[in-house]
Amino acid sequence: MRQRVWIAYLLLLPALICLAVFRLYPIAAAVFGSLVADSLTEPGSQVFVGLRNYLQLFADPIFWQSLWVTIKLNLVINPLQVILATLLAVMANQRFRGISFYRLLFFIPLGVSLPIASILWRIMLDPNSGLINSILNVFGIPSQPFLINENQALWSIIAVATWKGVSFWMIFIWAGLQNIPRELLEAATIDGADRFRRFLRITLPLLRRPLLFVLVTDTAVNFLLFVPMFLLTRGGPSYSTNVLMYEAYKSGFIYGDMGRALALVVILLLLVVATVMVQFRLFSREAEH
């Protein structure tokens, strides 16, 4: 028996080594890095500063603003993406003439990388000569500033990221839909349940597992969302799109202050872990019921 346990550990070893090297070590290095700073008396060396980087962050209004922007973004974008992905998956799961064309349309954003999508949307959202404003003008709506207005920039980024992300998440939910036994839906139909009731009482409860996976993964991805802010707004206007991830990038790679950057990353990590744990608990409990 003991030998069997050893073999099990031995077989797990490569995966455990990978976990330690690629997951645990970087986290430990980030935590350590957030406790040191560049020495100004001895160029090129570092000094241990304890929690100074964190205390400086907590005293910085920009940190609190970035935290609020990050939370606001995630409160909107995660439910929005999951709901839209579910609706699209339900549509893609239908069988009627010409559905292949619609499926192709849904999948197009998947083939465009996020940096390219961001640049395309930047051109389309240009306040002076962008396509979106031209369309709005046709309907008599005045041109909008979109990315250069502090009240519209975050919502514009949410739109871009959602356009790009929804079709990816749709695949998982669509796969979940295909696993729902057809007999259950047929039985409900015979019992007189209409389309909406079938979706609410049968489809949705049976989709809990893929939905949980999508929600948790989507949340982790969106907490770390960075490319649109980097390419479209650079955190502006007036820090309205300055999410924690972008602030961390700026601190580390523009200001050269890696201690501050890593402190931000550690806080972000804790935030993601806490959110995902809450989601997991809520959904697991519901799934058990």
Binding site: L40, N128, I148, P237
Partner: protein, 451 residues
């Protein structure tokens, strides 16, 4: 059946033996060249110009090879941060934007060049403002590869169409000596107020969309160019210690400059929003901007684009003084380099030697910082013809009106916060609130350097 194989096997064996014999020293091998790695820019004509200098250097120094490692402008700074912090030994030379000399020196990225360039030689070789900007705490840290200057480019056709008399300028098919160019710079320079008046008339809209913009900045929101607005009104971005922003970044003079900048986009609407610095020259090159204020490096680009342009001196505020941008790329040796002597040899060739610096200047067209080359330009009649005579204007500005960027170890933070603050102002945020918030934020960052 085996014979052909044995034959070919013997041949292969013989070939291998001959080859290994050559490489193992039976015949003296050529000495392997020392490879010097240079972290530099990938933008525009920069790599091609650099390669011309490298070819000339390597012809003279066959024992040294210069290997380029290039990145776009913004990514270069990030790459320097990452690679210097990881003590990357594969970087010997690095291009240094001159205001960052202090920051890189304080953090141990650069090795002093004192042992390769004695002070007496430095003073005789480069413009004083340039070598001083490349020094930190009495150590020469980075040699000036070139300097820079700013001009006001004018689209002659658009001025003519609008019926506006342009300022006296350097025009195509006109030869001007250094003295004549100096006269224009002293007597015919437009004020920013005149620029705005003309820009309002030059801006043309059709169906609610602006087709022709009256005015545009080359660097849109970057400190290098916009600092000159405040400088003209007597403002400075940070205090004399380089570590205080409050009362400087948001001083009344700075606010006045920022308000004027914001009005260009929001009140007078003569300048386009949402244009990145990389894209701004394209609007002038395609004839959609009438007045473009930009660096001398745009001259070859506009000439190639075939736009009908003239070059006038950089404007100033009526109530202020003339202030123009200066300073550019320097070349330094990394602290961890294993080939410092070879790297220094190359620095001497491209930055401090008339042969190398001339190849660089002829190809790249940026204002030199080398005294011998500047002297040559101001005396050589070939620089009297348009648009080469723009360099005569550049020499004048460098000697009379140039204002360097602030010397502060917090320049990275200053430049970034400046850019985001001016972007906000461009997008309509109240200038006073923007400057006040930025000054507070800057002071928090600069405080770390006071300890």
């Amino acid at each position: 059946m085996n014979a052909p194989f044995r034959l070919s096997f013997r041949r292969i064996l013989a070939a291998v033996l001959i080859l290994t014999g050559f490489s193992s020293g039976s015949v003296p091998a050529a000495t392997a060249a020392t490879v010097v790695h240079w972290l530099t820019l990938s933008d525009g004509a920069w790599p091609a110009s650099v390669k011309k200098v490298i070819a000339a250097f390597e012809a003279e120094n066959p024992d040294i090879k210069i290997q380029l490692d290039t990145y776009p402008f913004r990514q270069l700074f990030e790459t320097i941060e990452v690679r210097m912090k990881s003590q990357d030994k594969d970087v010997d030379l690095m291009s240094v934007d001159v205001p960052l000399v202090a920051s890189y020196s304080v953090r141990g990225f650069l090795a002093p060049l004192d042992e390769y360039f004695p002070q007496s030689e430095i003073e005789k070789t480069w413009v004083q403002a340039s070598w001083r900007a490349g020094s930190h705490t009495d150590h020469f840290m980075a040699a000036p590869q070139n300097s820079s200057t700013q001009f006001m480019f004018i689209n002659r056709k658009l001025f003519q169409q609008a019926g506006i008399e342009p300022p006296k300028a350097l025009n195509p098919a006109e030869n001007l000596s250094y003295d004549q160019v100096s006269q224009i710079a002293q007597n015919d320079r437009w004020t920013w107020e005149q620029v705005v008046d003309a820009a309002k008339k030059l801006t043309k809209a059709q169906n609610g969309k602006t087709e022709i913009w009256g005015f545009e900045f080359d660097q849109v929101g970057r400190l290098y160019q916009l600092q000159c607005l405040g400088d003209s009104l007597g403002a400075s971005l940070v205090g004399p210690d380089g570590l205080t922003a409050q009362g400087y970044f948001n001083s009344p003079a700075s606010l006045k400059a920022a308000q004027w900048y914001g009005d260009l986009f929001n009140k007078w609407k003569v300048s386009p929003k949402n244009v990145a610095p990389d894209e701004s020259p394209n609007l002038f090159a395609s004839g959609r901007v009438a007045i473009f204020v930009g660096g001398e490096w745009n001259v070859p680009r506009f000439k190639e684009a075939g736009v009908d342009f003239a070059i006038a001196p950089f404007p100033y505020f009526k109530e202020g003084k003339v202030a123009t941008g200066t300073g550019s790329w320097h070349l330094g040796i990394t602290k961890q380099s294993q080939h410092k002597a070879e790297a220094a040899k190359f620095i001497r060739f491209i930055c401090g030697n008339i042969q190398g610096a001339s190849i660089w200047f002829d190809s790249q067209g940026q204002l030199p910082a080398l005294l011998a080359l500047l002297d040559q330009i101001s005396k050589d009649p070939k620089y009297n013809a348009f648009p080469a005579n723009a360099y005569l204007l550049g020499v004048y500005e460098a000697q009379h009106t140039a204002v360097p960027r602030p010397l502060t170890p917090g320049y990275l933070q200053l430049e970034d916060i400046f850019a985001s603050t001016y972007e906000d102002i461009r997008n309509g945020v109240d200038p006073k609130a923007s400057l006040d918030g930025a000054a507070q934020r800057l002071d928090r960052f600069l405080a770390q350097f006071k300890k």
